[in-house]
């Protein structure tokens, strides 16, 4: 198989999604280039999380195509998609609250069977997220929000994914942790993992993203390189529009 570097890693094309009668996505098209950080911006209820769920196979689109590394993801189950190399940091982190931090991180390696390499990766996570070292045997549910975010990111990395999708990774975090999380996303990305992230906080996201899309009630209203969008007045407008609609 030839995978040309120019072919995007992930592509959604003309996706239409419904919850019952209500349409959430209207001809949604998004691409994530290899090695890039792509950010999806949008106000409340604009359909951001649903986009993540489409990628992960948790919600099925009514029409449209989703491809990863050139192959369609439509019709695959979530575990099958995960095995293709997509890891996720869900909205509100969704840790396994009653399992220990160690177990949570190791759950990330569920699709792998190479015990020794998994143990090494666990050590690597502890260098990447040093704070977690003392918390390994603690109940994940007892951690602070910021610590939980670290666990969720470590958990996602444990599958050695080619791409991580993240839903509002900075939500509810103190400014200190927000910076830390953004820094980590950049680090992860520099190690070769593509990132697709959903954010409400445009200015933060545009700091680290390569490209960005703006979603407004299910339609992409704006997209382009992050650098260009950062100064675009329409970002503000789209935003206000988005949150008014919600």
């Amino acid at each position: 198989m030839t995978t040309s570097a120019s072919e995007p890693l992930l592509a959604l094309s003309d996706v239409n999604t419904f919850y019952g009668q209500a349409q959430v996505h209207f001809d949604l098209s998004i691409t994530v280039a290899r090695g890039h950080i792509v950010c999806l911006l949008g106000g409340n209820a604009s359909g951001k999380s649903t986009t993540m769920k489409i990628i992960l196979g948790l919600v099925k689109p009514r029409s449209g195509e989703v491809t990863f590394d050139g192959a369609s993801l439509i019709g695959l189950t979530t575990p099958q998609i995960v095995r293709r190399g997509i890891a996720s940091v869900p909205e509100a982190r969704r840790l396994f609250a009653d399992m220990s931090v160690r177990e949570n991180i190791l759950m990330g390696a569920f699709v792998r069977n190479d015990r020794e390499a998994i143990a090494q990766d666990l050590d690597r996570m502890l260098t990447l997220f040093p704070k977690l070292g003392q918390r390994l045997s603690q109940r994940a549910g007892s951690l602070s929000g910021g610590e939980q975010q670290m666990v969720a990111m470590a958990r996602a990395l444990m599958s050695r994914p080619r791409m991580i999708v993240m839903d509002e990774p900075t939500m509810g975090l103190s400014p200190l942790y927000v910076d830390r999380v953004l820094e980590l996303i950049r680090t992860i990305n520099q190690e070769g993992v593509s990132v697709f992230m959903v954010e409400q906080n445009a200015s933060l996201a545009l700091e680290i993203a390569h490209e960005a899309y703006v979603l407004q009630t299910g339609r992409i209203v704006l997209s382009g390189p992050a650098r260009a969008l950062k100064d675009d007045p329409r970002i503000r407008d789209a935003y206000l529009g988005g949150s008014e609609a919600a």
């Binding site: 995960v82 759950m107 699709v111």
Partner: protein
Amino acid sequence: MSSWLDYTINGLIVGNVYALVAVGLALIFGVSRLINFAQGSIYLVGAYIGWVAVVQLHTPLPLTIIVVAVAAAIVGLIIERFGLRPLQNSVRIAPLLATIGISFVLDQLVMLTFSPNPRALPSQLPDVRFQVGGGTIGPLDLLIAGVGLTSALLLFVFLRYSKLGWAVRAASQDRDAAMQMGVDVNRVNQAVFGIAAALGGVSGMLVGMYYNQIDTAMSLQATLKGVVAEVVGGAGNVPGAVIGSLLLGLVESYGVAVFGTSYRNLFAFLLLVVVLVLRPNGLFASARQAPPEPLTGTFIAPSRPVRIPRWALAVASAGFAVLPLFPVSFYVLQTLINAWLLGMLALSLTLVAGTIGQVSLGHAALLAIGAYTSALLSLALNVPVGLAVIGGGLMSAALGTLLISPSFRLRGHYVSIATLAIGEIVSLVILNWESVTRGPIGISGIPPLSLFGYDLISPTSIYWFSFAVMVVLALLQGRLLDSHLGRSFRAIRDDDVAARAYGLSLNRYKSLAFIFGGFAAGISGGIAAHLYSYINHETFNTQQSILALTVVILGGLGNVVGAMLGAVALVGLPEVFRIAAEYRILIYGIVLLLLVRFRPQGLLGTM
């Protein structure tokens, strides 16, 4: 006379048996948020497989245990694969109803294969007892304790150290997140159903040996006890289920010691209701834990109801009204009278379960309250029968609503459990409150129906009377549904959070629905009492509650015409096809399963 230590030992042993059932329920609830009402049936199947192994194949005890565990596990896997997996994307109530249908089918298959007569299940262990302190303990007690502890240990090792065990734990804490880690939820479901069934089957076998008797009535009791223990421990909480079971065993055992055997179950269900009301997440759940239930509707299948023109309804009613004028047999009239009585119950249930979304599994209790009230009013106080029946309706409306009201704050499956328990409590109170209800003897010599001094004795007059009552109730209910009140009911069903946000008082509306529904069911029970002339605490049982639910689903939840059509179909069709009585429950179970799978909105659609 036994000592307190004996009661304690007995309580712990029985608790151990409950634990084997409850742990399985907890595993399944954890992963699928499903109360598996078929768990007791697997326990029943386990007991009978044990009987076949011991009595016919003469297997040694260790082999018997293995045979039962494996065979029961296979039954569990089949249930998961063919009964439940196809319903994954169905409405939330579908799997619950499917497990009820499966339990009917399994119980009936066992009954048809082995006959309903009890059988002895010898334990193959020496009959000696050792003195311990002031009590005694026998080899079977030790076996049960040993099986309980071994199972707990195996389960612990599985959950803690195996990959599949991790997947089970992860899926039970957050199913979607587990899938995002690559966990195949189908395999997890398979695993928990297999384990739950193996444990349940062994439990049934051990209980059979403990009492040296097995019969088909074990099934429902086991489900109920397992559910009680599981909910007390916190639905989905495996260690909680073990503690809940031991607690239940002790409470029952001490209760029996103080009050007598007939109170055993009463304590179990009272414990359940108290826990549900005070700590719906169980005794050990942390306070912040969200209740594991959906917050909004999607509990019944949304659909567009079939619109039946008024003239068609009028023609059908007229047809049924003039039917006795034609030379129809006594038998046909009798069958249709039963259909009308069931129709009244179905009207009641379709309002409560369909329109306002409280899926009641204890609806027969409303019949019982109406029947006893009417019977006692006419017998003890010489109230004219016509008035007594109305009194039965009113009492059922009032008392029924009062009894159900603790469950108003519950949602989804918890409502079903609570109503099931309340239904059992009513029947147990009737059994034990001898001074009023005459206890197990029942009430005989109930006077026949009469209206304004004229006795209704001929089948034709009874037919007209019950048909007219049903039609009046249906018209009233139709009016109700079209009113503002009806819309509020549906709003609560579809989204109780939003309904509350709009300022609807949930308790008030739920009460109103139960008052209306209780009245209709009470009238049905009252009429039945005077038709049967004899009733006891078992006349109106859980089987009838489930039958009513099947009728209501068949017609379409919330659908008034559907409720009556469902009653005629379910009572009438077995007669038309001359299906022998012992196969009927089996057929009902299969009908329920097929409906849930292929037409959850019923014949006429949900409203």
